[in-house]
């Protein structure tokens, strides 16, 4: 089939326009962060940071307790993602491969759990945590973040597990593997994309969360980065350079993670969703 010049041109042209539209806010964040203030507050935008400076980053990083917050964020995010992955792996295997009473009810339960509007329950959560004397701790925070991503993780992984041909597992068992060994040796490696996809989702959720940490942890030693960034504008006035530098630093780990994992994982969520 031969397409006309126009037929070949418009998809590419559209793609370029879309690319610019999607990338621009991200680009503008980084560009602003690197520009000296004189180039930020201008009547006509300076489109490229010709006089690049790291002074805004310097300012952002020297906020109080910056590295403590970084460490807390990393600890909470990584551990909540790992916990939810392990728990979800067990659950999704049962839901995908086994037949038992109550299965349907459980699937619907997890679908409902996925709808929980966490932000509006924070007073209830606050009172529970307070009355159990666990305020100013990373433990409840980690637990709740793990729970926030657990339902989607289960439903997604379930799709992945069921996509692994039954026969592979069976042939492994014929070869003398137990069911557990068969799972570890055969299914688990095939689940890698699914695990990456769901962990990305978990990373974003836990990395971003702020209403809960705001109310649970008043001690700055136990706070996380979103609080730092959300207080930026008031702290630095209309210093868009420092604000954008902070945003850039905050976004960078997630952006890197995405680019690193995207080939294997980007469509992972669909597979789960399709089978969800």
């Amino acid at each position: 089939m031969k397409r006309s010049v126009f037929g070949r041109l418009w998809p590419n042209a559209t793609a370029v326009v879309l690319f610019v539209g999607f990338v621009f806010p991200v680009y503008w964040m980084f560009a602003t962060a690197f520009k000296p203030t004189g180039d930020i507050i201008t009547e006509d935008p300076v489109w490229f940071p010709y006089h690049a400076t790291v002074s805004h980053f310097d300012k952002a990083v020297h906020a109080d307790h910056f590295w403590t917050l970084v460490a807390n964020s990393v600890i909470v995010t990584v551990s909540s993602v790992l916990i939810s992955l392990v728990i979800a792996l067990f659950a999704s295997f049962a839901l995908a491969r086994m037949r038992f009473k109550g299965r349907r009810g459980l699937i619907v339960t997890f679908m409902l759990a996925q709808m929980a509007p966490w932000e509006v329950m924070i007073i209830a959560i606050y009172m529970l945590v307070r009355d159990n004397d666990m305020l100013d701790s990373l433990v409840p925070l980690t637990a709740f973040y793990a729970m926030m991503v657990l339902p989607l993780t289960i439903l997604t992984l379930r799709g992945y597990v069921s996509a692994v041909p039954k026969e592979l597992e069976e042939s492994a068992m014929v070869d003398g593997c137990t069911r557990l060994q068969a799972f570890i040796k055969v299914i688990f490696p095939l689940l890698a994309p699914g695990l990456m996809a769901t962990s990305l989702f978990g990373f974003i959720t836990a990395w971003n969360e702020f209403p809960l940490v705001l109310i649970l942890n008043k001690d700055i030693e136990k706070q996380t980065l979103p609080l730092w960034i959300s207080q930026f504008q008031t702290a630095f006035g209309d210093d868009w350079g420092a604000t954008m530098a902070a945003s850039s630093l905050f976004a960078l780990p997630i952006l890197i993670l995405f680019i690193f994992l995207q080939r294997k994982a980007v469509s992972g969520l669909t597979d789960g969703a399709v089978k969800g």
Binding site: I41, Y126, R130, D131, N132, D133, L135, L214, I215, K218, I220, Q231, Q233, T234, A235, F236, G237, D238, D239
Partner: protein, 425 residues
């Protein structure tokens, strides 16, 4: 083994339930007196920008010398502070001492979260200025100690005013408007930076008109925004705002108006004396051009009304270090440190006898005449809810500035205000 485990769980459970109801009175027994102070650490919450580092260090040293205990200052951001204080006061391990805005003190006192300080008042507060101590009294009991007070002044850029050919500061409101007009015409600077929601300035204008924000309707308080005097105050505000390009839906803190002023392209702004320091921090070169004057009133003999803002120091009811906390108050509020704070920050102290510390401080000298005719928001516990985000009075101001008739704008927010005033405690 199993039994041990069970016992551990039971004990753990008991500990949870005990600590969950912590802060009861019997906890205070542990804190009998000076002997138990050594080695303890007292936590004090102060608000962003309220105490200079020098003062903090001096007080820490004096406190440690006298009690053997340490004091940890934790600086709090204004954003969302009400929720933070409320939840903190409910905890078994709250900050021991906290700075509370004077107009919010009655509301916190009514919640039962603040310890009664009537004894302390007898001991050290006999000469506290009556007008500033008023806000810490609720149902005839003292629930906080007055700390420092301040009111707004005009902070202006001398260089810009000189460029516009203005030689003297205005003595009346009309003169002020004329000067702003001149700056607008003769320079490329913004005559004044006044965002639409600098609502404490608006409150000052209301006080200047002799009006109040609430009125009594039977035994309830209701909104008084529709009062013609309030409308007159808003018209003055609108006139001021007409000389500014500042956003109509933002307050003076977002962005910090001083940082805008610091860029040197703004003729003046209405702010607290300490905001000058913020401006200097943002741009050192601005220091030599800074000047202050009292916000002028309708006539030269009476300055504009101002909102007399300020802070009290309170002790959390749930604090387990009550006596140590009171000791801290005695030190922090002593003539030495109250005077030092007044001098360093240019704020009005809690005793008239200490006002000599303000001498030579341009901002404080400009503020003093205003303070004499200052007032506050209604000192009723119900009031605090009105100022919660989103503050309906700010919405009213933005609406009027955007062209809505004041009466209609007042009507729009009235039900919201009345609902908040009617909130049960």
């Amino acid at each position: 083994m199993k039994r041990k485990l069970a016992a551990a769980i039971v004990i753990a459970g008991m500990m949870v339930s005990v600590s969950a109801c912590g802060g009861g009175d019997d906890d205070n027994s542990k804190d009998a007196g000076p002997d138990s102070w050594k080695g303890q650490t007292l936590t004090v919450w102060t608000m962003d920008g309220s105490v200079p580092e020098q003062w903090t260090k001096d007080v820490q040293a004096a406190f440690e010398k006298k009690t053997g205990a340490k004091v940890k200052f934790e600086v709090q951001k204004w954003d969302g502070i009400q929720q933070k204080v409320t939840t903190a006061l409910s905890e078994s391990n709250p900050p021991d001492v906290l700075e509370v805005g004077n107009t919010q003190t009655p509301a916190y006192a009514a919640t039962g979260g603040l310890a009664e300080l009537s004894d302390l008042k007898k001991e050290i507060g006999s000469d506290w200025t009556e007008s500033v101590s008023k806000s810490s009294v609720y149902e005839d009991k003292q629930y906080a100690a007055p700390w420092y007070f301040a009111n707004r002044v005009v902070i202006y850029n001398k260089a810009i005013w000189a460029k516009a050919g203005i030689t003297d500061t205005p003595k009346t409101r009309d003169e002020f408007f004329k000067d702003l007009e001149t700056i607008g015409k003769k320079t490329d600077a913004e005559p004044i930076y006044l965002p639409g929601q600098n609502w404490y300035f608006f409150d000052g204008l209301i006080i200047g008109q002799g009006a109040d924000l609430v009125k009594k309707d039977g035994d309830k308080y209701v909104s008084n925004l529709a009062d013609p005097k309030v409308t007159a105050a808003m018209e003055i505000y609108k006139k001021y705002a007409s000389y500014s390009k500042a956003p109509k839906d933002k307050d003076e803190a977002t962005p910090q108006q001083a940082t805008i002023f610091a860029k040197g392209k703004t003729g003046a702004f209405i702010g607290m004396g300490w905001e000058a320091a913020t401006a200097i921090q943002a741009n050192k070169n601005i220091e030599k051009d800074l000047g202050y004057f009292t916000i002028p009133g309708a006539t030269a003999d009476k300055p504009e009304g101002v909102f007399l803002g300020g802070s009290n120091l309170a002790v959390a009811q749930n604090s387990k270090k009550q006596s140590l906390a009171k000791e801290f108050l005695k030190i922090a509020l002593s003539d030495q440190f109250e005077g030092e704070l007044s001098k360093l920050n240019g704020v009005i102290p809690n005793k008239e006898s200490l006002e000599s510390n303000l001498k030579g401080n341009g901002a404080a000298e400009a503020a003093a005449p205003g303070a004499a005719v200052g007032g506050t928001t209604p000192l009723i516990p119900e009031w605090a809810a009105v100022e919660n985000t989103p503050n309906p009075i700010k919405a009213y101001m933005t609406a009027v500035l955007n062209g809505k008739a004041p009466a209609d704008a007042a009507k729009d927010v009235e039900s919201d205000i009345n609902k908040r005033l009617a909130q049960k405690n």
